[in-house]
Every structure is written in C-alpha cells, then in structure tokens.
Symmetry: C4
Subunit: 250 residues, 4 copies
C-alpha cells in the first residue's frame, strides 16, 4: 500500500464546517469529546485515512470482523454549526509521520471547505482535578477574544512542554496554511480516562459553535471512573491499614 | 540491495492455493503450525523474500553455511487443498516496514492465484492453558459460518489489543484487496513455545481445508515443553520449600 | 509539508558574517550564549527553518499563541563583526535527520556569504566547575593559533566521546565544504543550565571577533542558578543531618 | 549531504586483494585485528565512506582537529596477499542502514577487484576464555576445507543468535553477489576488549593468506587488559572479604 491511502466513503455538502480533532492523548479527553459528538449527533462516516505510520494492526469488532487501523472523518450536523470530526485509535509512530499525517488531515479538511479548526485535548495537572478549567492556545491572536468569552483560560507559556502530536500540528501546520485553529485543553490528572474533562471541553465548544448536546452517556462514564478511583483509593488505604495491623500483631 | 528482493526459486502450478501465514509471534504458535505443514507434506521452496527491514543478520546452518535472513514461501500439496505456506524468523522492524512487507507477501500470493488466506498465531491468556480454544477473526463476516462450524470461537472485541504484525495485516491489507482472510489464534499462556496450541490451530485448519496430518513430531515437542514446564515448577516450589526450612531453622 | 521548509523573513546585507550556532546541548551553554547575543545586539530574524525531523510540537508564547517548532537565524551586527546566529529548541530526532538539517543550516549560511563558523556548546566535567576553561576543536589545524591566543585550550583526543549533534556536524560537514569552523566548548558540570559557562564561551568569542558585550542578564541568571544549587546542596545535607540525629537517637 | 558519500583518496593497483572487515563488535575483536594489520603493514588510506546512517559526530584527534565519522578502506600489501582492510568507529543505526552501508562497502571492494572476503569478529562465551578457539561460518560450503585446515572450528547452528551487523551481511549480501566470504569469530568473554582473541583470529588469517605479522603491540594491549581484569577481580574479592569480616564481627 502507499504511505497514506484515503477511502472516500461519502462527500456530503457541509455548510462552512469546522474541523474538530479528537485523537488519543492525555486522559483521552479529546477522543472522548469527539466520540461523544459522533454518538449524540449521529455522525456520518465520510473518509477513512490509512497510513503505514500507524501500528501494523487490525481491531476486531463485536462481530469478529477485523478492521485495519485508520483515522476517520465524520460529518456532524448541529443546529449551531456543521462539523468535520476527526477521530481514531492511534497517533503516528515517528516525528516525520506526525507531520505527514497532519498535513493529510488538513488536506482532507480543506477539501470540505474547512477554514476553522478546534483540536481537543487534555492538559495534565498531576493531581485529581476538582474544577475543570479549559486552557487555550490559538494559531492567531485574533481568535483569543471569542475563546476568553466562552470561558477558556490563557496562561502565558502554558502548557510548559508545548502541545505535541496531531493537536499541536493542527495549530502549527494549520496556522501556516491560514487556518484559524485553536486548541482546547481540559485540565485532567493525567492518570485516568477523564469524561468530566471531556465535558468541560465540550461545554466550551457548545458556546463557541452555538449547539446544544446532552451529557448523559458521558456522565455514566464519569460515574464508572469515579468507582474506579474509589477502588484505587480503597486499595491504597487497605494495605496500609493491613500493615498497621501486622505491626500491631508483630 | 533494494528494499525488498524476491528470489524466484520455483513456480509450480497450484490448484486454487490457500495462503497460510506462520511468522514468529505469541507462543510461536503460527510458526510451529506452518513449519509442521512443511515437514509433514514435504513443502517445495518457491520464493525467498529478502528485505532491508529485517534484522541485518545471517543464520548459520548445521554445515556452518550462513544464510541471509529472509521469509520463505513453500508450496504444499495435500489431498484437501494446495497451500502456499509463508514462514520465516523475523517480522519487520518498523511500522512502515510491516505494511511494505505484508503488501509484498500478498503480491507473491496473488501471483500464485491465492484468493483465500489463513494467518496462524497465538493469543496470550497469561496462565497455563488446559483446553486449547482457537479464537477467530475474519476480513469479511461471510467467512464466519465455516469457521464456527470447524470449532473456531468468536468473542466480541477480542483479542482486546487487536491483532498486530503480519498476521493482522494479512487480514487488514488482504481484506482491502478482496482477499478472503481469517486469523486462527490458538490460546496459549504467552510465556512458552506452545506445540499443543499449534496442534489445536492445525486441527481447525484440517477441518476447513479437508486434509489430514499426523502430529507425532509436534507431540514430541509438546512433551519436551512439558518437561521444561515441570522443571520450572520444581524450581518455583524448591526455593520456597527451602525458605520454609530456613525460617524453621532461623 | 516538505521535509524541510524555510521561511525567508528578511535578507539584509551582512558584511562577511560569521555563523554562530547555539542549539540545545550540554548545560544549554551554546543556547544561552547565542540567545544572549540576540538580546544584547537586538538580532533581526532572517530565516525560520521548519523540519519534519523536529518533534511534532508547538510552543505557546506568553500571549497564548502557538508557534510551530523551528530553528531560527538572526542577523546580529556588532562593532567587531556581523554574525548570523542559529538558535532553536530542538535537535533532530534521527541520525540521518541531523545530517539533513545541518546541511540545510550550512546552505542558509552560505546564502548569506558565511565562510567562518563557531559552534558553541558545553563539555561535561561531571562535577561543579570553579574555573571555566573553554575547550576547542577545529575543522582545520590552521585555525588553532587564533583560538589558542584567545585562551581556548586544546586537549588531545578530547572530548573523549567526540562532538555530537549539530555542533559536531557544523565542523564535520562544514569542514568538508571548505568552511573554516571551530567548536568552542565551555566546561560545565553537565547537570544544570550553566550561564557562567556560557559567559566563558562568549568572552572567547569577544576576543576572536573583536566585539564587546555586557553580561548583566547572564549574571542574573547565574545568580538564580547559584540559588538553585544552594537549595539542592541544603536538601542533600538536610536528610543526612537528620540521619545523623536518627542514628544518635537509635 | 547525500545518504552515502565516498571520498576517493587513492586508487593503487592491488593484486587479487582480499577484503578484511573489522568494524566494532563483540570484544572489539574484529576492530583490533584489522587495525593491527594497518599498523604492522603501514596501510595506505584509499577510501573514506561517510553516511547519514552513522551517528552525527566528529572525533577530535590529538591535534584538536575534528574528523567527521566515517568508515575507511586501507590497502595493505604483504608477502602473502594484498588486502583491502575496512575499519571504522561505528555500525549503522537502523536495519535498512546496515543493508545500505554493507552494499556500499561491497561495491567499493568490487571496484578494487575483490573476490574473497573475511569478516573478523568475536563470539561471546559469557566467561573468561583460556583457549582462544576461532569459530567459522562461510557463504559457500566449498570454502570450509581451507578454513578447517587453518584451525577454524565449525559448530552446527553456531553462533546461536546468528551473525549480526556488517559482518553478517558481508557473508549474506556478499554471498548473494558470488563473493567467497567467511566470518572468523574469536571466542571472547564479551565483557572486555580482547586483544588475545584478536590475535587468535589473525593467526588463522596468517595461515590462510600466507603472510606473517608480529604481535608485540597486541601483546602490550593484552597485558594492559590483564591488569584491568586483575583489578576487577581484586575489587570483586575485596568487598566479599569485608563482608566475611562483618559477618564474623556481627
């Protein structure tokens, strides 16, 4: 196969669509948020992007059918805006691969007339988050006012390590093409899949693109995660309690 | 040398041959199974595939002669079906290399008229296996009925981490070419070379392709492995017994 | 994007400019020194070099605007000499990438008429440095006399592990092109960012290129680092003091 | 620069020259042996091979002059045979790089009329070696008799892990070109630079190519290594002796 192959599944007319990128990353925040949009708005698969930069892997679905690893674009229509949502299970495996893939993703987006993009992701805080602030970064300073109005926080020189992977390059390469791109980063511990952070990011997006979406399924996942956190805390407390007893006995 | 070089050793006429892939992987299940077919049916070497993606290595045979690392295709004729069996000592070293190599393997198979493929492998359970179930995955849902009839089990979304390497891509890239491909994965602990799991996979293949094969040599290897396992268990029990004594003395 | 893309920001006339390379490396000595020149002489950005060999990353500035990772050339004019100063946040990610990038950097330098280059860096000593010796290496033995006169020390076969990265290749590839190149390596512990070592390197450069520069801002950074070192030493002494007490009590 | 660049330093007429490869590897046996030939027979530098697959590095000589990492061919004339000796400080950094580099090395050798090659190296035993056996492997079974007569041992399927790197490919790729290639592997512990193993390999080569060479300088290096080994053994015995005392006291 070629280094990159694109399957054109459908090419619907979209009205001034906005690119929403949600590939795997910190806390799976971007991926959770993007997939939530697909579920809630019944996204239509429009493109599959295969790349030799992805792991050599198939995923087996619930019918036992193997699907070659790829990134997917879905068209999503809401009352507020049309979106082209990019999701997938993998990022590229090399530096150069990230650049090549993101260039391809931006080509696809351009072919649908995209002029504006949001890269969704998480920013790790290293501790459990109580209030889910959404940090922002933009390809062009003009875009900041709208984001600030929607509750996005801009902190000088943060995130400290920059923004890496496809999200970073949607801003970096997108900006070089004249795309109006922003990154919305939900604060998250960085240790766990974080549906609450994904919700915080989506709430900003709702304001920015004037659509409305329900959060029931994300809340269910959040509750599951709370249980996981609860069990981890128990386990952490458990052994030390046991230790105490042992010390007492010994 | 070029990135990939193919030596055409022989080009026999084969009757509707089925590709059988058995490169190294979990428990060496696929490799054991494929090599067993070559031994039992006296396979005829037809192609050698050299690739700069393989390790820079020669293997020294029992005569002291060095052979450059390669993958090999053998033609195998049975009462039930003709097969083109792919074996070798290595997988590719990079993501892109896996895609390039598997594409080449599928090209070779096509040149022999292959329209159907079985990728043989193991699926790790993490514990010693008593009953050797064979899990399946297919490139197309239509292929499932025959496999189920032959005792293959389909479990939704399993294996959880997908199928990686050449086996995965025989399904993924093969499926994209219209090849009818399936993966047969014998359960195996994942810790040891597992001839019993290879036999379980071959028994499924016997049913599917209507041939018969003896298992004496695989049984011999299985017995050798049992001895190895026995010794490991002894060693694991040994020290703790010694520990007990020491504690008793101390 | 292409593997390497060069933005031509400005193309001022420079009088016999000298290339000064200061990319990240041991103790960030080269980077600190090069950036100090840019600050003190108000460098003019002339080229940005983007490369798919760099990490897929944007850095967020103090306004929240994301900038794609790149290397930059600035024109710097002093009383003594004009300079073309190369700085950036990253080196390449692969062997071949280092060669390709450095070749590009040398092409850019040539396009400005550069015939002479200084690669600035640090050489690790493994212990805190009291006197900051500057070690030298040259692409051509003829260049040694001037450097020795300026206080640069030449030690046979040092640094023992050679000079790696872009600095090494400015000498190696530059030398093959007929560029008169030298590496100036300030001794540094190797554990910390070292503004004092950067100053030692710059003082040599002042003598060689007959310019004068102030060091106030580097001194401020040096003082900050002294404080950091002080705190580290306190921490190291702290626990052992506590240990002593515990031993005393125990 | 190009991926590979070859400097033609000299092109002397050689009489049926034999390629001797001695790049870094186990115990530096091959490198020591090849460099010994250069020193004793006053080799003439004929080619330098630069490659972007090598580390991005310059080595600084005893004059402070930096030399870009490369592999070198020297012409060596002896009473018995002319040799083309390949040495250097590095192997390639990737699988594909090993193949590309070795292909280039074989091209250079062919341009000098080489039809026969010896790859020199070490084979690790994991323990200190008393008698330095030299193991062999050949590209063609016909070459075995001469080697056996010269004291080379052939052991079925050894070395177990095959022969990797440039040495392996001189046999593997060389054999595919019709080159008569052999690998001479001196047994060595694998933990230390081993001049004695290098001598054992050279003594075999003397017999095969009917030349004579002195070993004084290798003996000096061997004595230095004996001292190193002695010190290591002392250190190993020291603490355990101390341990015994502590136990006694305690």
């Amino acid at each position: 196969m070629n280094d990159i192959e694109i399957d054109e599944v459908a090419t619907p007319e979209l009205d001034d669509p906005v690119l929403i990128e949600g590939l795997p990353g910190v806390g799976h925040v971007g991926k959770l948020a993007a997939e939530h949009l697909l579920e809630e708005f019944d996204g239509e698969l429009v493109r599959r992007v295969y790349a030799t930069e992805f792991p050599p892997q198939v995923n087996v679905d619930d019918e036992g059918v193997a699907e070659l690893t790829c990134a997917e674009f879905h068209a999503v229509r809401t009352d507020g805006a049309d979106m082209l949502v990019l999701t997938g299970d993998h990022q590229a495996g090399t530096n150069a691969g990230h650049y090549k893939l993101t260039s391809t993703f931006l080509d696809v987006a351009e072919s649908f007339g995209v002029e504006r993009a949001f890269a969704l992701g998480g920013v790790p805080t290293g501790e459990l988050v109580e209030e889910y602030t959404v940090l922002g970064a933009v390809s062009d300073a003009e875009g900041k006012a709208d984001l600030s109005d929607a509750g996005v926080e801009f902190r000088p020189d943060e995130p400290a390590g920059g923004i890496v992977g496809v999200s970073g390059l949607v801003l970096g390469l997108g900006g070089r093409r004249g795309l109006e791109a922003a990154c919305l980063m939900g604060e998250t511990s960085g240790y766990l899949v974080d549906p609450k952070s994904a919700r915080a990011v989506l709430e900003v997006l709702e304001t920015l693109l004037a659509f409305e979406v329900g959060y029931e399924s994300l809340e269910d996942r959040a509750e599951e995660m709370e249980e996981v956190i609860g069990k981890i805390q128990e386990m952490q407390e458990g052994p030390s309690a046991a230790d105490d007893e042992l010390r007492y006995i010994g």
